[in-house]
Assembly symmetry: C2
């Protein structure tokens, strides 16, 4: 099942069911109006949405309309939790190697995660607005899951059963603000502005065999200003799977329905696959040439993030954003 949230001027938008091929959509009116509502009462509402999804896929939905990603908010336009991991340890290794720092041994067994802001997400085609080009504007292409309720103390296996939906995320980062902010010791704040998500959130069964062991075994494509800069494999090198990330959060507290958990930027040891964030490209340049060459993003730049299934069809639709100055 594929779900999206259409803009209607309200804070939470209108829930729509989207056909598997992303060609058509149907309002979920009569079942639920908001995605959080479905997550709050998944066992009761999701089968009804699934029925509508099958009808829509069969071309028999009477009020179907053409699906337009530009009309989408984030599937959850605001959420009660956004917790982002750094689950591809290769990314951590590269960034640290570029600054001649070691990766602590514990990083291979204890996931690195940060608590992000979740009150104001961006839709997949919304402009990403920043006050200044000088802050080191960078995209981060990654995967994210939306959970049901996961009780405190859940094991990674139990936590994995709490995964309800999958989507793509663009975890915007202001790189030049990060060193001073992390030096304060309390994590990110100003260096992590609003995150964007893919048009569609999909149930894990939509991925078939590509969803296994808590990882998505598909290729994530990232294009910057129309040029493909990354075709990274999301599966094999994800050091911590989503169940492990969720269980990390649930260690000392309950994780409640509608929590979004991110993988962190997808990263591969094989540099020829390219990159899912500019910081990684710059780390590689620093390792190779002693200094970074690729600049960060400028106003007017674009980034497009997409993932295709084994059938070559886009699974979640594309995140496709322009970088823009804050409106006057």
């Amino acid at each position: 099942m594929k779900l999206a949230t259409y803009k209607d001027g309200s804070r939470d938008g209108q829930l729509v069911v989207v056909s598997r091929d992303l060609s058509t959509a149907h309002f979920a009116t009569g079942i639920a109006t908001r995605l959080q509502q479905v997550l709050d009462d998944w066992n009761y509402l999701s089968p009804q949405l699934e029925d509508l999804y099958q009808t829509l896929n069969g071309g028999r939905a009477r009020h179907a309309f053409a699906f337009e990603p530009a009309q989408c908010m984030a599937p959850l336009p605001r959420a009660y939790q956004w917790a982002d991991g750094s689950a591809y340890i290769n990314h951590v290794e590269l960034v640290r190697r570029a600054r001649n720092a070691q990766v602590p041994e514990s990083f291979y067994t204890d996931p690195l995660m940060y608590q992000g802001g979740s009150d104001d997400f961006l839709g997949p085609c919304d402009d990403a607005r920043f006050a200044s080009e000088e802050s080191g504007i960078d995209f981060e292409a990654e995967l994210a899951v939306v959970t049901g309720d996961v009780p405190m103390g859940a094991t990674p296996g139990q936590a994995l059963e709490g995964v309800r939906l999958l989507m793509l995320a663009n975890d915007w980062s202001l790189r030049h603000l990060i060193p001073a902010e992390l030096a304060k010791g309390f994590g990110f704040f100003q260096s992590k502005p609003a995150t964007a998500f893919s048009p569609v959130a999909a149930t894990p069964d939509e991925l078939g065999g590509a969803w296994r062991e808590g990882r998505v075994h598909l290729t994530l494509s990232t294009a910057w200003n129309g040029r493909t800069v990354g075709l990274t494999e999301a599966g094999p090198e994800m050091t911590f799977h989503f169940g492990q990330l969720i269980a990390h959060i649930a260690k000392t507290r309950n994780v409640r329905a509608g929590s979004i958990v991110g993988s962190g930027t997808v990263s591969n040891k094989d540099w020829s696959r390219g990159y899912a964030c500019i910081a990684e490209k710059r780390a590689i340049e620093t390792i190779e040439h002693g200094e970074p060459k690729t600049p960060f993003m400028r106003f007017g730049d674009t980034v497009r993030i997409e993932m295709k299934g084994a059938d070559g069809q886009s699974v979640f639709g594309a995140i496709d954003q322009d970088v823009a100055p804050v409106s006057a």
Copy 2:
């Protein structure tokens, strides 16, 4: 106006209006059922609640009932943001001095804040449940505000106008988990379990002249196992006022309605006023005697946090929690 959220078995509870003296309450049914709904549409809904509040205070509300704090969830049982500051720099100075570390100069101009989990708050009288007594269980008594929409780039003055409600918070902390977690560099996670809030959230006008320049000029009382351990002044030594804290978050992103922003543990230079968290007492002991003497909390311990107005009446009602093991 004073608002609370009554337990009804649902995730968001039922909004009630509470009389100024906290003696009676009235369901807000017909106006709004949930507090987030009111924050989403404050200008339209809050005057209607204010009318009901006046009727209730006048003893003329026809379906009023006795107000019971134990029936309360947190005013916002879950929120789209919980951002906690460390606005009393004296606390930072003490903790650092105890471990022979300097306070960086920037800490006096740039607020220290962390992004907290907001999907699962505790009610004021809910047990605080932990897996182990060995994790350094500590309370943190503080103030918190709930905001309306504050746009990116707001000044501290503009941000202050976004304050809708005030309440008390108990920012539970697992002290022994903090050093390793902060050493990872991405901020708190497992060391900050679910936060509890006072029974009542009050509009700033309820505090009269005690709410000025973004600070609450009243005394916060903290009692541990029935013994008062802190009578700390919340006003004069709050280095960063709430407008500054909110503007810090809004620097690179919008802050949306229903965001909760905390002051951090209230702390005074005059040690005779006592403490609002055990960590501070232990820091003082370390400075004085070379090592901490006061142990952290044990299962069965209690903590009570309350603030009285100039009239001697409790403003927000008391946070009154027992420490308990995770249920089997």
